[in-house]
């Protein structure tokens, strides 16, 4: 019974990662590709770690799995935000159909200082 649950989580996790990769190939510009990576790839990793935690019952496995999950869910949005900020500063071309870009307007009005 427990193998069925672990296999279910493993297959779903790898399918979410496959969907993230399809999104990286298919979506039109950098910012939308980041939508796919931030959400689908994180959920894929979390589901696969759940499969390991179900199958191996020991506290050190659970501790390490929880550590990896916490790293992933708290660091991925920060890294994505830094990359998208850098991409927007570098005038990376956007796809079609953009309705508004208020960040660009504010950059033209006031000079933003970037400190290290």
């Amino acid at each position: 019974m427990i193998e069925w649950i672990a296999a279910f989580f493993l297959i779903f996790g790898s399918i979410f990662m496959l969907i993230a990769a399809i999104g990286v190939v298919k979506l039109p510009d950098v910012y939308m590709r980041m939508h796919a990576i931030t959400k689908a790839a994180s959920l894929g990793a979390i589901l696969m770690l759940t499969a390991v935690s179900i199958l191996y019952v020991s506290w050190i496995v659970w501790l390490e799995a929880v550590m990896v999950v916490i790293f992933i869910i708290f660091t991925t949005p920060v890294a994505t935000q830094m990359i998208s900020k850098a991409a927007h500063e570098g005038h990376t071309p956007k796809g079609d159909g953009y309705i508004m870009d208020e960040l660009k307007d504010s950059n033209e009005n006031e000079k933003i200082e970037i400190t290290d």
Partner: protein, 96 residues
């Protein structure tokens, strides 16, 4: 080479997982090669980190060696640092 565990259900799941993760790696490699700008390539780095965490976990399930979870912890930490350093480098290069 790999000792698959006894349960047939889990064996099939491990094969499916290895297959789809490998396909995903090739897709990421495609975007890495043709990606028009540098940020495109940087986000593929993030994707490949998640995929290698997935590959390590599938390997753990295939062999039963849970010691490899340490590698997943290290990858999850190092890739965050790598992304932040890349973004800082990109911003500094733009400012010049």
């Amino acid at each position: 080479m790999i000792e698959i565990t006894n349960s047939p259900v889990l064996t099939v799941a491990i094969y499916i997982s290895f297959f789809s993760l490998t396909i995903s790696l090739f897709m990421g490699m495609y975007r890495l090669l043709i990606g028009p700008t540098l940020p495109d390539r940087m986000i593929v780095l993030d994707l490949i980190a998640s995929l290698s965490i997935g590959l390590i976990i599938t390997y753990i399930l295939a062999t039963g060696q849970t010691i490899y979870l340490n590698v997943a912890v290290a990858i999850a930490l190092l890739v965050f640092m790598g992304n932040i350093a890349f973004a800082k480098f990109l911003i500094r290069r733009i400012k010049k």
